[in-house]
């Protein structure tokens, strides 16, 4: 098996996007964390945010839009903005179609407790299936509809409802170096194009798949610059104004909102807060492993190492144990997109990032999640019949 | 209102769009009157030196620029050939006289002598010769896009605002009073370029 070079401090290997190692072998993400801890005047940032929010307060139907999945980051962001800044937000959710039961339950509770207006949008499933397959084939990443929808749809609402301020949660400097903590990360079209949309816009996608109209892709389309400018949109990350700390934030929302974590495929049970909102997460992380030789456990343990909560030795053991196991949710995914497992693996092979190699030995299957029976298996009207037929014949 | 001198330079539209993107209200100046009516002026330029000087002279635009810059103190940004034409002379295609506004000559880059590829095409780091309002908000050694075979060689270094290295020092920008000019193309230098143009719009020399 290929031995990947990893950061001398954390678990991130050389196949991670935008990774760079310095003379000490320390990666740029670890270095950014030092910058975050040492060089930023967080009190000044806090004052900046207060001034910014105050300048929008009371002037529109809502003071700001908070894009919301119901995961740990957006729940904390919403809680913090209401508690500390007393905003009246419009909470906007782009529902990718794979929200898990515990998350749905959390959402209802959170939104009631905080007393907010809530808007949720779920795009056409028949379009989504096509998009998943096409983006998997092209980029080895089936989540295009989710990446683009999550970041484009709230912007569309900002334009339609004339609410210029959007506040997102975690800055990308926490896990990549597309932006550093030394620059203010504006969640704008440049950022969208830089790494969110996999290099494919809705206009690009239009010519890549058959049988869809341009308007079918509207939920995934970034609003035109002139519209954003007319409304005067500002779109920022809360994490640019307070030092992001996942674990303490999770503890806070558990305590204050009764937010409840869940098991996730491919990660140790200690991380019951991470990406609990999507039941295709296990497949996503599995593809990442097939392509890049690491998964979510490497990412999570790295954050713990950077925050002084875990030693490298133990992290390595966890990574070895959890990353790269075949998730039971893969069966459902393959049904959705109509691929066989061999076809799926072949696509993953085409996207392997060197020096990782596709010849890695399989690591065995992961454990099925407790809520799997509740996940909706609908492929389409026609396929559901064929699924039933398949079930009886078996 | 900002005027871009329109004498057929091919980067005119890129310059206009870039300026509009950073919020400028742009007018294309085709007559001396247009130039004199503007609060600030941009002189773009790509192509052959002699032809450019001849055309600006014959149309009276050069004289209007002179009045706007030296008598009325209007800020002027020259870009690429728009920098070079201000020189005393150029050796491009035989020796030709320039505007003679800045002391120095335009010469062929001697990259070949240093074993480098010529022309000088691509992104290069710019070293600031002094602190300048025009480079505000950029890192200490920002990169800009260059595409040229000839460069301005000043008689004395004090007019330099920034230099770059290509088989020897190359003038990247000059600045004197209300006159600023770049050899690189801010309208093609992505975020750095837009920032510089934004700085030019706010510049109060």
């Amino acid at each position: 098996m290929t031995e990947l070079r990893r950061c001398s401090r954390c678990m991130i290997p050389e196949t991670h996007e935008t990774i760079m190692f310095d003379e000490q072998g320390v990666c740029n993400i670890c270095r950014q964390q030092e910058f975050k801890r040492e060089a930023i005047d967080w009190n000044a940032r806090e004052r900046q945010l207060r001034t910014l929010i105050d300048s929008y307060r009371g002037r529109y139907s809502h003071d700001c839009i908070v894009p919301f999945s119901g995961g740990k980051d957006s729940t904390f962001t919403l809680y913090h903005l209401i508690k500390e800044y007393k905003v009246k937000p419009l909470v906007v959710q782009f529902d990718h179609g794979f929200l898990r039961p515990q998350t749905l339950e959390n959402n209802v509770r959170t939104l009631k407790q905080l007393g907010v207006d809530f808007l949720s949008f779920r795009p056409n499933w028949n379009v989504v299936k096509k998009l998943m397959l096409e983006s998997l084939r092209r980029k080895g990443d089936f989540c295009w509809h989710c990446h683009t929808g999550i970041f484009a749809y709230p912007m569309q609402i900002a334009v339609k409802q004339n609410i210029p301020l959007l506040i997102w949660g975690e800055p990308s400097a926490e896990y990549t170096s597309y932006y550093g903590y030394d620059e203010q990360e504006e969640v704008d079209e440049r950022r969208f194009n830089r790494f969110v949309n996999l290099g494919i816009s809705a206009d690009d996608m239009q010519g890549m798949i058959e049988g869809i109209e341009p308007r079918d892709l509207d939920p995934f389309r970034y609003p035109p610059v002139k519209d954003l400018r007319r409304v005067g949109v500002r779109s920022i990350c809360l994490g640019s104004y307070l030092p992001w700390d996942v674990k303490s934030q999770v503890a806070l929302i558990e305590r204050e909102l009764g937010w409840t974590g869940d098991d996730v495929e491919g990660v140790p049970r200690d991380y019951r807060y991470e990406k609990i909102e999507c039941f295709m997460q296990g497949v996503r992380d599995y593809i990442k492993f097939l392509k890049r030789g690491y998964g979510r456990t490497a990412h999570l343990t790295s954050i713990d190492i950077r925050n002084g909560r875990l030693d490298r030795e133990r992290a390595l053991r966890l990574v070895d144990e959890h990353d790269g196991r075949r998730p039971p949710s893969l069966d459902l995914f393959l049904k959705y997109v109509g691929l066989t497992e061999d076809e799926f693996l072949e696509i993953a092979r085409e996207h392997v990032v060197s020096p990782w190699s596709a010849s890695a030995e399989p690591k065995g299957a992961g454990q099925p999640l407790h809520d799997m029976p509740q996940w909706d298996p609908t492929v389409s009207f026609v396929s559901i019949e064929s699924l039933r037929a398949a079930a009886t014949s078996r | 209102m900002i005027a871009i001198v329109d004498y057929g330079a091919s980067n005119l539209h890129s310059v206009r769009h870039a300026l509009e993107t950073v919020g400028a209200e742009v007018m294309l100046a085709r007559t001396p009157e247009d130039i004199l009516a503007a609060e600030r002026i941009v002189l773009p330029g790509v192509g052959a030196f002699a032809q450019c000087v001849t055309s600006l002279r014959a149309s009276g635009l050069m004289q209007a620029l002179h009045e706007a810059v030296f008598d009325r103190g209007r800020p002027l940004l020259g870009i690429c050939l728009g920098l070079q034409v201000m020189a005393r002379d150029s050796e491009e295609g035989g020796l030709h006289a320039g505007f003679g506004w800045i002391p120095g000559s335009v010469r062929l880059i001697s990259s070949a002598l240093a074993g480098m590829k010529g022309p000088h095409v691509g992104w290069n780091e710019v070293l600031l010769s002094r602190s300048s309002e025009l480079f505000k908000g950029l890192r200490a050694d920002p990169t800009f896009y260059f595409v040229h075979s000839y460069h301005f060689v000043p008689d004395a270094a004090e007019i330099l605002a920034a230099t770059t290295e290509y088989g020897g020092p190359i003038t990247a920008a000059i600045q004197r009073d209300n006159l600023f000019a770049t050899q690189f193309h801010p309208e093609k230098s992505q975020q750095n370029g837009l920032r510089l143009l934004e700085n030019f719009l706010a510049w109060k020399p």
Binding site: M20, D141 | S14, H17, V121, K188
Partner: protein
């Protein structure tokens, strides 16, 4: 120091971007203007637009596309496809091209390069050279790889530079779209035969390929198609990789 450039290469056909294998089996790769916006955000150093229709109608569409891209994206463009006259040069430069690539016409109309160089400067004249290996060595092909000229690549690039080309865009048809690596050997020979920068093109399949052709063949720039279109690599990821490998690339993201 002058930076090594990472250049996405966009092939235009009927107003869409396409990419194939060895100039055939074209597959849609998106809308040219949104592609340009994306590559701009991803910190590409320059873009190459080549119109592979290269018809008369194609040329005016090309101008429109370049002009639209140039009004939204502020980065250098090298544009080509069916360029036959200095008028074509003029129109493309006016539309926002910074450099114009000449392919078939460099052989059909030998004076074009020198006339264009005189009018617009050598820095905006790019000789685009497509080649295949034949017995006896690499040979120039024109008309989108359809016409074998029998001319040696080295003779041809030397003539182009003498005539006034300020840069060579060197594309291996054999490697194009195969993602098996650049033709390092021919790129090295061309690069040492001429005094102007050489853009290596055709074959990039991994980020390491980009490093190899810079290091082993002294390419001044690397053109990339399939690797950016059909994998999740991007200029910004390539840049990080090349920097780690010790290549002098731009530091700013965009």
């Amino acid at each position: 120091m002058l930076k090594i450039r990472i250049i996405p290469k966009l092939l235009l056909q009927r107003s869409r971007n396409v990419k194939g294998v060895r100039f055939e089996q074209m597959r849609d790769t998106g809308h040219p203007v949104t592609n340009a916006r994306i590559y701009d955000a991803q910190g590409a150093d320059e873009l190459i637009f080549l119109d592979i229709d290269a018809s008369v109608e194609g040329r005016s569409t090309l101008c429109d596309i370049v002009s639209k891209a140039a009004s939204e994206v502020f980065m250098p463009f090298c544009v080509g496809g069916g360029v036959r006259t200095v008028d074509d040069f003029h129109r493309l430069l006016q539309a926002g091209a910074d450099k114009v690539a000449v392919n078939s016409a460099a052989i059909e109309y030998p004076s074009l390069l020198s006339e264009a160089a005189k009018l617009f400067g050598v820095q905006c004249v790019v000789a685009s050279v497509d080649f295949r290996w034949e017995e006896g060595g690499p040979r120039v092909y024109t008309h989108g790889g359809q016409v074998a000229t029998g001319i040696s690549v080295l003779d041809h690039v030397r003539r182009c530079v003498e005539a006034g080309a300020g840069e060579i865009l060197l594309t291996s048809i054999d490697r194009d779209g195969t993602m098996t690596g650049y033709d390092v050997d021919v790129t090295r020979r061309v690069s040492s035969a001429v005094s102007v920068p050489v853009i290596a093109s055709g074959g990039a399949g991994t980020l390491q390929h980009m490093v190899d052709v810079v290091r082993e063949a002294s390419a001044s720039a690397v053109a990339v198609g399939s690797l950016f279109h059909f994998t999740d690599q991007s200029p910004i990821k390539a840049r990080a990789f090349m920097r780690v490998a010790g290549i002098d690339v731009r530091r700013e993201a965009a």
